[in-house]
């Protein structure tokens, strides 16, 4: 069962640096929301508040109806999947063992769940199960990372630039796999990316962040037609220009 993700007036500083400045964000259950921003915008910090990899200085964070501070961080993390840019697979474990990581951690290891998760992301468990990560392509590794995040049947999924390190062709394929999973499981997914066109392709709900604040939120068409700030306008402009040939 999917849950909603909410923050209320959350702030976080790292020393002198303000990472989050009074941010309130509400991600409905079963939705796919993308946060776009450059590095230092606070997008990853915001994402990590939901699984308590970061504890905010002030404000509240809720997953479902529950304030995360009431949850044990380890229990909370087991209920929320996480995929990062470089996959973070254990290099010395096979694909099957990697996928079973959290099930093992919870003493609930089951080869059925592992196979089901691998099939869900479009990898043949028989063919790939006994391989080591270094024997996979970058795209396959990210699929395994997704399968691992899904194996313990999470109620939401946090994605931190999961396509950032992939080449253009496999990026499209892996994005499709993620979208297929999201539709099939109706899972709440929150994606962080620096790439507006990627966000526009994957999600109808885009949140633009800069300097620890939300600049604007909406469909890509809204951002294009009525940018709330100069930054949003510049971001849209830059994304549009990438599609135009340099010599008209």
């Amino acid at each position: 069962m999917s849950v909603s993700l909410d923050t209320q007036e959350v702030s976080k500083r790292f020393g002198p640096v303000v990472a989050l400045d009074n941010v309130s964000l509400s991600v409905p259950a079963e939705s796919f929301t993308a946060i776009v921003g450059e590095s230092g915008s606070g997008k990853t910090t915001l994402l990590r508040c939901f699984n308590r990899m970061v504890d905010p200085d002030s404000g509240s964070v809720t997953v479902g109806d529950r304030d995360v501070r009431e949850s044990d961080p380890i229990e909370l993390r087991r209920s929320i999947g996480y995929v990062q840019q470089h996959g973070g697979l254990l290099p010395h474990w096979t694909v099957s063992k990697n996928v079973a990581l959290i099930l093992r951690a919870m003493n609930r290891e089951s080869s059925e769940s592992v196979k089901a998760s691998l099939s869900l992301v479009g990898l043949d468990p028989v063919k790939f199960g006994s391989r080591f990560p270094r024997e996979l392509s970058g795209g396959q590794r990210q699929r395994v990372a997704l399968a691992r995040a899904l194996a313990a049947k999470p109620r939401a999924l946090l994605l931190d630039e999961p396509f950032g390190a992939l080449d253009a062709v496999s990026r499209g394929e892996v994005q499709d796999a993620f979208i297929a999973v999201q539709r099939e499981l109706a899972l709440t997914m929150l994606l962080v990316t620096h790439d507006l066109s990627e966000a526009a392709r994957l999600s109808r709900d885009i949140v633009v962040m800069k300097n620890g604040k939300i600049e604007q939120r909406g469909h890509v068409a809204e951002l294009r037609d009525s940018p709330a700030t100069e930054y949003v306008a510049a971001l849209i402009g830059s994304a549009m220009r990438q599609l135009e040939p340099l010599q008209a």
């Binding site: 990899m53 996480y82 973070g88 254990l90 959290i102 951690a105 080591f132 990560p133 946090l158």
Partner: protein, 522 residues
Amino acid sequence: MKKFFLSFFAASALGAQNAPARPVVIASKPFGESYLLAEMFAQVLESRGMPVTRRFGFGATEVAFGALRSNSIDVYPEYTGTGLIAILHDSLPDSIARDPLRVYAHVSREFSRRWGMRWLPPLGFENTYAIAVRQETAAKYNLKTLTDLARAGPNLNAGLTADFIGRPDGLAGLRKAYDLTFKSVRSLSPALKYQALAQGGVDVVDGYSTDGLLAKYDLVVLLDDKRFFPPYQAAALAGDRLAVTNPRAIAALSLLSGKLDERTMRGLNQRVEVNHEDAASVAKSALSALGLIDTPDGAGSTESTSSRAGFLQYLLDHRSNIIDQTLRHLLLSALALLAAIVIGIPLGLALERRRHAAEGTLAVLGVIETIPSIALLAFMLPLFGVGVAPALTALWLYALYPVVRATYTGVREADPDAVEAAEALGTTPSQRLLWIRLPLATPVIMSGVRTAAVIIVGAATLAAFIGAGGLGEPIVQGLALADTRLVLTGAIPAAILAVLVDRILAIGERILRPPHLRTKRS
């Protein structure tokens, strides 16, 4: 083998109060005459049915004396002048300090009063320091006395033993007494100094007046015209336990008193140092000549002929010793390495979790690593006495740094992406440690263990200086007696051992390597 292990652990229990039949532990300092005298002590006792343990080649006066004081050894040959100046640190009026009888009386009284030790009556010869130069140096600068040397000193390079450089009755006192300076002062091993002098590497060395090598190299001994060096009468110095509990041994050792004059001693030293006869057989023939032991005629001459035989034959003749020493060396090294692993890996892991304490701790361990082995071993003496315990502790300390550093670095730097992802997915810290960080750190930890092993096997040769035995024993003894073959019987097995240990650990490293790093079998 069983006997070997028993003796190994019995050695570590040295110093504990034992049954009356316990052997008399006889020690020597690391030079030929000391070996020879100690060997004579040993044979005199053995011939009278008293069991003896030989612990020859203790690093320096402080080490041998420290061992005697803690009753780790029972008796060793010492010189009255050394006792007066290097141990008692007494400065007496010249009228007493220059008189052999009064010096003997003084050290006897003081050693007995302070430590219950007993100076047996002197053996009959003096072995004072002899400052020696080459003939042509003496001619060039017209050197006859130390006063002459003070004049020429700034042009000359000195090669002195570490013992002499450090002792108040050595270089320091000499400098003051004669206003002496050298162009340079280098520390040389007793066995090498004459060779260095003869070859012109240095111009001045310190020796002993009874050294056999003085004659061999045709050196000029300079006269101590200000009588700076006190009388150095050789005598057996017995610890309080032996003095109190074993009057038979004391009586037997006293039989040697007054029996060895300077000419006899120089002749015996020459046989050991110049002719490379075995110290045990030289001692034996000397004792039977003195009528102190019964031996069939001709004993002692066998070794001198075999010393001309091939090195392989020599190794074969000494194989049981070499095997014993190798096993002992291996056991010492293995125990020290095991202790370093058992303590070092958890310590490295603990430091990784308290990184603010890590650099400080590692810096301290790193400083230990820079202490010269012989100094570290010497530091262990007051804490653990002599024998196996201090050697093990010192080796363990040496091995600790590479193991701790490798564990700390290996675990800290193990695939940060994998560790972070596993944390964000809800693994516990101990799961991350056992499943990810430790397995991924294994190759780095194993390389630290290999480094530690090679360091230990090498450093263990120095354990002989504090009586722990091992392959250092023939090395130390061979150096002291300028006997290259003896040195090689220790050095070659030690080198082979170091290579073997490294190869064996390399195999272990391959077995423990994480699966993704293993080369695939096709």
